[in-house]
Symmetry: C2
Subunit: 384 residues, 2 copies
Amino acid sequence: MYVLDLAQLTPQAFLDEYWQKKPVVIRQGFKDFQDPISPDEMAGLAMEEEVQSRLVYKEEGKWQAKFGPFESYEHLGNENWSLVVQALDNFSEEAAQLIEPFRFIPHWRLDDLMASFATPGGSVGPHIDNYDVFICQGSGKRRWRVGDRGQHTEFAAHEALLHVEPFEAIIDAELEPGDIIYIPPGFPHEGITLETSMSFSVGFRANAAVNLLSGFADYLIDNELGGQLLEDPDRKVVEHSGEVSKADYQSIKAQIQGLLDDERLFASFAGKFLTSAKHELDIMLPEEPFTLEEVSQLLTSHAFKRLGGLRAFYLANTIEQGICYINGEQVEFSVEIIPAVKLLCDQVTVEPEELTQWSSNLDFINLMKDLLDQGYWYLAESEA
Amino acid sequence: MYVLDLAQLTPQAFLDEYWQKKPVVIRQGFKDFQDPISPDEMAGLAMEEEVQSRLVYKEEGKWQAKFGPFESYEHLGNENWSLVVQALDNFSEEAAQLIEPFRFIPHWRLDDLMASFATPGGSVGPHIDNYDVFICQGSGKRRWRVGDRGQHTEFAAHEALLHVEPFEAIIDAELEPGDIIYIPPGFPHEGITLETSMSFSVGFRANAAVNLLSGFADYLIDNELGGQLLEDPDRKVVEHSGEVSKADYQSIKAQIQGLLDDERLFASFAGKFLTSAKHELDIMLPEEPFTLEEVSQLLTSHAFKRLGGLRAFYLANTIEQGICYINGEQVEFSVEIIPAVKLLCDQVTVEPEELTQWSSNLDFINLMKDLLDQGYWYLAESEA
Ligand SMILES: O=C(O)CCC(=O)C(=O)O
Ligand SMILES: O=C(O)CCC(=O)C(=O)O
Ligand SMILES: [Co+2]
Ligand SMILES: [Co+2]
């Protein structure tokens, strides 16, 4: 278990002073930090098809980026390269624990845990991200330079590497195991490896307006909704056929506004959109579906874990109607089990003590059975 | 020139009683009607690549639809088939004149002129359209049945023919040359040919809400707009990471609302979207670009015609800023020539008397030159 120590700051003070505003180094944010996985384990993951990974290095002064899976790393030598793995939380329960201290920020803002193994000199190069990130230094040592937000020119150092022109550093720090650097969106940064390093980035995400709009349009199209045509039975004769009158322009805009104002429609879209998986989940289906009896029994005796990377949220607006969203789908349930569903959405692990009271509730048993059968939740292994 | 006689009705009375509300037969809407093109001319057009056409007939009791261009019609015999040509106004100046009497309805609501040549028994079958249409009978005779709006089952009589189940007729009329039948959206209808017939449909269009939304999203994407990310510097620590709070949900919705509320953005999109050509234009580029001197001279001596099917509109909201929209593009010009631009958008033909006062205005000369060079307007032939 990782315990985050924000130095003098409470989480709220951190949010007030730094979140979305300015970068900061948090010395020994994690005391006695132990890498959740080893470089070998990471290298092994990056050989798997389902895992999104990249090798970044410089070859004769020119940046290169290759996408995994990889067959071997021997040709790389022992410096000037790094291996980056996306969504490590989907594949490693231990690594996923690094996210837990950051739960004071709601899950819908979270993206994933990205890990990088880097040899001395290794770096992904100077760049700007559109997301907030806590870069947690594991074993080794890296030097991080961070520039201020502003006018920065970006360019493709490689077709898969968008870099930024050299910048003045407002932070220039060497990070050691347990140190964390927090960087808001738009601040250019560059990490150079001093000693072979494992580093773990807890990354957040925020949608661009156009992505939301486009997602909403796709949602309507896929579900054959929003087909209402403009109606104009009150049309008045015009003298100027080339004009789109103010009234007509308003009615055209009102067609879109009507979709946005449809509360059920937009809530449905939003829940599904926010919980859609951006990175492939490592789903392991049970050999056989669970029976209701089994589930009822297990609820009293076992802890349940939520699949790494699975997004399960509820909207404050609609949870009281017995609605939640899991992995891009709307899930409806009886209102009496709302507290249980909230637990599932709020916590990665739910202990038997927390679920015992629901173990005879047929609606909850059915829901858990569905979730277990889909591999979305599974039986937590007992901790020794 | 076609003169529309709405019997006892003024255009406003027609709109008040029938438009978007109920179908009606207008006997002798056109007195002494002459087909604007002959069946041979139409058959010739339907052999051209650029022209959208269909042959619809029944073969052994089964409906068939074939898409043009066609090489010959000899195999069809002399009954039970019809040839339909879309956007005839793009290809025939004479046929385009049929639209002029309907200019009391703004151009942005207009779709195209569709023509059908049908042999006795020929029909496209019983169907429902999503648009208002004035079906103008030319030579020959057809019987039209129209049913009421309501629950009607549609089915694919052929993969390209969506038909409707049999319906009770609220109108059952035989149309002769010059008769018109007006049908609003949603009323099932079927035309059966009694005597070899030429018929001309002035069709309108109205966008479905989802098409507008989707078009708006595409517009933003194509122009790399709307990239603003959600910002939450005022975030408060949460206890329930699985919740999307009311405030957060509102801010997500507000991202889309912000795009809709961006007046310049939405107006730009709307103008371009409404003027985009749905049917291929028959553009004929001049052999050489015009010179400014030529244009200035021509403005005093010649009438200009707008290319058939070209959509040129102005928004009441923004015309006074010197903005209009032509064929999917925004066109900006100096405010002093606004009246001239309105003429171009309001009228298919602009007479020299109407343009003489602008013949020394450099801004207008430049605009006309651009429009002529793109083939959007051309010199009208003198009428004998
Ligand atoms: O670990 C790395 O090399 C890159 C980390 C980074 O830039 C980030 O997480 O935003
Ligand atoms: O002319 C035809 O056969 C079809 C006309 C029609 O149904 C229409 O214009 O909506
Ligand atoms: Co970064
Ligand atoms: Co029709």
